[in-house]
């Protein structure tokens, strides 16, 4: 298959995942829509063209690790895991419901396919660092990928981890930042200006790649570069459109933590056809 075909297939897959995200959040009547849709392309590329994972052996010691630090966009992760065959698609519609494995925020003991438990922001990267350091010292080749929001760069714990990854030369660690410029109270640059995350990571000793996080070709290219031997941890700053694919949700921070109603769901699915 040539590159173009791969990208086309990934885009098709992403579309299906987006449809499920809308349906499951609508069914749950609550959940984080915008971030999940914004990161769907990244989730898809990771699980269908990058991560070494096996749905039949989720705890394979040679697997790659995906740590979702911004746990609130778990509908995106859940829908991707189902698409990749980790569990039945039907389970997606138990999201946020009583005794579901798909808790409102990811809980490893409820859904053993997960690597961590997350939701409270700022602590995922340190856990990814612990995993990466352990694997590196054991001379293992598993990759460790940590997904983060831009908003959680307000947290001190995030910067503690960024320094740590540099100190221990975690060349097996890849961070993908969802740079969608929104957080709960509004625009990131108004709430707490982050400025250039690129400059910040560079000055902390990391490698950095900026991409359009909704352009499948750019995502695939960046992930390819991430596998090239490097001596540093690497951050991909994925500039994404929150609510991507559903025009009336795009760039509107009100959709950060809102579920679509019946009519909005219909319109959204129409747009995602």
């Amino acid at each position: 298959m040539d590159k173009k075909e791969v990208v086309n297939l990934l885009n098709l897959q992403a579309k299906k995942i987006r449809q499920n995200i809308i349906k499951m959040i609508h069914e749950a009547k609550s959940g984080h829509t915008a971030g999940s849709l914004g990161m769907t392309d990244v989730f898809t590329a990771l699980y269908f063209s990058f991560l070494n994972v096996n749905p039949k052996k989720p705890k394979d010691p040679d697997r790659d690790y995906l740590i979702l630090s911004n746990g609130h966009i778990c509908p995106g992760l859940y829908a991707t895991l189902a698409a990749r065959g980790f569990f039945k698609e039907q389970e997606l519609f138990t999201l946020r419901k009583f005794e579901s494995g798909l808790q409102g925020h990811p809980h490893r003991e409820s859904l053993p396919e997960l690597e961590t438990t997350s939701g409270p922001l700022g602590s995922g990267l340190s856990q990814a660092c612990g995993i990466a350091l352990s694997l590196k010292r054991d001379k293992k080749n598993n990759k460790v990928v940590c997904l983060m929001s831009d908003g959680e760069h307000d947290e001190g714990n995030t910067w503690e981890a960024i320094m740590f990854a540099h100190k221990y030369h975690l060349d097996n660690l890849l961070v993908i930042v969802d740079r969608n410029r929104i957080q709960i109270d509004g625009n990131t640059e108004q709430i707490m200006p982050l400025g250039s995350l690129r400059e910040k990571y560079l000055s902390f000793g990391w490698g950095v790649i900026d991409i359009n996080g909704n352009d499948m070709q750019e995502i695939v290219n960046a992930l390819q570069r991430a596998t090239i031997e490097r001596e540093k941890p690497l951050a991909i700053i994925a500039h994404t459109t929150p609510g991507k694919g559903v025009k009336f949700m795009e760039h509107d921070y009100n959709w950060h933590g809102r579920a679509p109603n019946e009519e909005e769901t219909k319109r959204a699915l129409e747009l995602l056809k």
Binding site: T116, T117, S118, P120, G122, S126, N157, F164
Partner: protein, 314 residues
Amino acid sequence: MKELKATREGFGEGLLLAAKQNTAIWALTADLASSTGLLEFSKEYPERFVEVGVAEQNLVTVASGLAATGKIPFATSFAVFSPGRNWEQIRTTICYNNQSVKIIGSHAGLGVGEDGATHQALEDVALMRVLPNMDVIVPCDFIQAKKATIAISKTKKPTYLRLTRQKSQIITKETDKFEIGKAQILRKGQKDTVIIIGCGPLLAEALIAAEELKKEKISCTIINLHTIKPLDEQTILTLAKKTGKIITIEDHQIVGGLGSAISELLSEKLNVKYKMKIMGVENKFGESGTPEELYEKYKLNSKYIKQEVKKILK
């Protein structure tokens, strides 16, 4: 004079012994390796040692990541900082996530002394006891700290181990058994006497008080409740039922500590009339001074234990 040693020293020795047996044991520090007894470990096992700098939130979350790959990390700091500063990280990434991380909080209690209130953790047991999945252990001396360290390295549970800075009396023997969740009877009194239940180095004060009271023909049973969670309900209830007179002592706030845990148990499950006194710090912060001066001011030495025993017998 008997040799004095700190519980944190016992931890350092215990960790070396445990690490020799089990290569999965790692140790982390937040710029306090020498104070928490990790220097030897860092030299002996550099590949299993992690220095995170002054960053306690990172300390426990990196530890959670290590545990996710099967390691048994011991995350060490002063108790005011860990679990004081990083409580939510411990709650979510260790307890709710159920990873086998050992939180080692040293320099707990008024016994820290001269550094003053900012560095005297008096709330740590309460903070850790309230978390589901977490075991809470407070060894009473050097020997017990060593044994407790080895014992917790063998469980898969998140655990909090509370340690102290000051050199204190050694009141247990190398041959004494240490079992998580099983209270140790340090001194057995006659029947119908007062039961003193405590944890940590203050138990030495309880032993002095009991010895002096013996001269006045008052006999006390002393229980070393080194494991505050899970609570040894059976031992406590059996003894409490016999006498109905219980005094607890700890170098910690009265709210949420050992006395509080026992009170919760007795109020629900002890079906006889009983009297209880909880000795601890009464809703105050500590201050600078020697441990002896502070225990006198905060009424936590043998003199005050004797007073409380006499009061409860009235």
